[in-house]
Amino acid sequence: MELLKRQENWNITYTHALGEIASWFFVQIRDNAKIYGRRCAKSGRVLVPPRAFSDQTLEPTTEWVEVGPGGKIETFTIVYEPFHNLPEPPYAFGFVQLDGADTAIGGFFKGVDLADPAKAAEKLAVGTRVEAKFAEKRIGDLTDFWFEIV
């Protein structure tokens, strides 16, 4: 028998509030090309991305600390799959622990030839030193900066 399927495409727009902490963080990136973390007074750890509270100590964070722009690769991957609203693949992304931070922040890696993934992976090896680079035109989002191998 004939079996039917029904296709639907919902288009709902969400407007998420960032709150004071994430707002200040992205304004610094947009206006000053600087990355900041928040220090937890109880543990002394600097959390990047910044949070209003530590999810380990459950204490409010108390202090802004500038981190980077240097750092080291904590982990990476090379992606070949296209996503909505993201760059054309392939691209490399991962997490970098910026100097002065105790946690790693996600971002894209640029300046590495991805044609041969094995060779690219050697260049992006965990522990490799990188530096955050900022776009000339910045909008206050995560894609205002990326990482390049030093």
């Binding site: 998420h16 960032l18 990476f76 991957t77 070949y80 609203n85 993201l86 992304f93 946690t103 993934p117």
Partner: protein, 385 residues
Amino acid sequence: MGLNRKTAVIGSAVLAPFSGDDRSLEEILYEVSQQALKDAGLTMDDIDGIVVGSNDQFDGRAISIMAASGSVGGVDRDILSTPSAGEHAFVMGVLRVASGQYDTHLIVSWSPLEASSLSEAQRLGADPYFHRRLPLDESSAYALQAAALGARSPVAHELAEPICRRGRENGAAAGIDSSAIPTHPAAGHAHWPVKEGMMAAATSGAVALVIASEDHVRERGIECPAWVRGMGWATEAAFLGDRDLAAAEALEEASRRAYEEAGIDDPRSSFDLVELTGITPFQELIAYDALGISRRDDWKADIQSPRFTMSGELPVNPSGGAMALNPVFCTGLMRIEEAARQIRGKAGKHQIDGANLALAHAASGVAMMYQTVIVFGTNAEGGRA
């Protein structure tokens, strides 16, 4: 912390993969629930409560319990839903029976392929502040985890292939024809360093279990129940950059709790089989370490020996595990179902003879964020049968 009342799995059913063309999702949920009840020798009138685990983004329905309320028997009954993981539905159900308020529960979880892209649906799980602008679907998270593990323990890259091969061979022996499995048309590509062939492509699945109290088991004279001897669960930090991706702290905590409850001192030598969640071989290695069945230094010797094969001292994933069949959202609950099935002596082609004590490990979420460990035994308590 022990359970107030002994609880056992007394019936189960799996439809994975299911055809999504000749039945609607509701019809599949109806079928898998009825099959599990039949396996338990019960009817819906014998069921006191229902817990379902499902993913709204995959289902394309907000509050996807709406799809289940009628189909799994929830009309005018006690039914709860969890969106975190299929295995969390099991944990909740066992706790409810153990509370003494209920004698029986039906647990159901499902994972269809109806979204245009599972990867995009998974990205909705990331926070919209710091991570939504990254290609952070589950495949990416598995790859980030694999790269971190490979840096900590380079031997992982060498062991990945033999682990995959064992999983696929077990799956084939258990009757899974991987070439015939319908997968998502937009299935994720390999993400370095997880190479082509290291993951089973996402497919559809539905799983249902019936659990009952010791009173119910005794009164009904139910034979061969799989007793929940120990249970533990824990959650990792949501931000991947906060975590040590080469290890699984939450799994260490979950297994510590489960082993303590079950009286397991030496997990390496205690079990007759393990059903664990390793979507990639790298996850499987991380799970070995955190579950205490093979520490990092033992990985190479253990993988190269027959230890974890079907005829070895501790068969790992007799069913083939997620390496053979990966119905994304209910893969974790399927490990629990498989381990219980082994203890009930109903695993068919891949039954481990004389299975008395089984370990089930379920992991869900971004890079195994949710970790659950269940110990099943043929005896309600005490030592080995």
